[in-house]
Symmetry: C2
Subunit: 228 residues, 2 copies
Amino acid sequence: MVNSCKCHNCIFQGLLFESLSDEQMETICATREEEDYAKGDHIFEEGHRVERFLYLKDGLVKLYRQCGPERSQIISIAKPKDFVSLLNIFGSEHYQYSVSALEDSTICTIDLDLVKQTIESNGAFAMNLMKKMSRSSDGVINNICNINKKNLRGRIAYILLYFSDTIYKKPEFELPVSRREIAELIGMTTENVIRILSEFRKDGIIRTNGKLIGLQRQDLLKKIADAG
Amino acid sequence: MVNSCKCHNCIFQGLLFESLSDEQMETICATREEEDYAKGDHIFEEGHRVERFLYLKDGLVKLYRQCGPERSQIISIAKPKDFVSLLNIFGSEHYQYSVSALEDSTICTIDLDLVKQTIESNGAFAMNLMKKMSRSSDGVINNICNINKKNLRGRIAYILLYFSDTIYKKPEFELPVSRREIAELIGMTTENVIRILSEFRKDGIIRTNGKLIGLQRQDLLKKIADAG
DNA sequence: CGCGGCTTTGATGTTCATCAAGTAAAGTGG
DNA sequence: CCACTTTACTTGATGAACATCAAAGCCGCG
């Protein structure tokens, strides 16, 4: 029977629909494991062996590198339907970065060898996966380059618009990250993140209440982001 | 006949050897075109349609983004056997970046649709390509993150070691890039690139004569790069 | 209740970009 | 081949942007 694995709404449905036979779908789903993580939980760490193929079913996670005892760099934020392990699953035996949950999250995993076998036996599947992978890497590189060339105000504006436009799709949201994590995401100090958020608040560009953020002047934010 | 296409030493030999039948190899090679570019030539530009699969047979090229009339960012430098178009060939119809030659270069291209067909029909080939792609993206992301977290002296040290260790495999080499391009590669101003190179020269860490660079104290450079 | 982590603001100093000016090198047209 | 123009390289002076340091308030949690 198809879909006995309860993946009706799973990304694999879309990704594999045209490409997998019912049997293949069943075989893959049979190896599926689902795991819940609470906000703050570590999902895996840099250096660990890559053993399963992961994707984010629900929640929000960060991919980051440890750069010393007190410093880390957030490389990317993954949202539902992102393939968390995609970035380096095929390039290396070990993870190049760590992943932890920014919100309560559900991760689905399937057997990695089986995915590899499926790539080899099913060309359409391989092609689809390749596209996903390519877009994913492109997005990360693009983001980093965009942030890099901006000044601090531009970076804050950019990241606020990112949360609003890409993650939450609304102008008010609860920040899933601490001020410090914002700093790690856009390469600046915690103090300056706070300073510039205060500045924006005083100028009436945003409203803030703890983690709650409201973008009141998206037009201005866009200008600041572009000018930066 | 196998290898009638003169690709004996071609990277495809290695990549496809185990995975392609003689016929497949022949078919692919039949679409092959080779093109020579002089130092400074544009190979393709941001926004152009992706039509062929490219790899660098000989020479050195830069991948970069235009950020305004007078600014660009170098994303990566590709050396022989790198798949120049790999980073976004499957993710988008159009190039996300421009490529031009840093040294006289030879580019081989093959029909993109044929590559896609081969991915679909030959799983081992798909898997190999995926690994390449994954490593390539990883390398770019890793490099950018490494550079990002360093101060200016650390960046210069890092990039000098990069040319020495990764590109030329010797401690003396002729810089393939201008001071300005170094600046675009590691995110700083031309003036400061020059200043720090002079500083290193005065401290006896390197010798310079125009584009000719000799790393006299690699140990110190490593320290500076790591400390940065 | 007190401890540690997160947030906030101010004061200070460093790093780095910008501006300016000049030299060297490399391409261009007569 | 030489004047001419342009581009690359170099150095110094200045100021702006940003990190660091310090101190205090806040909040959740054992």
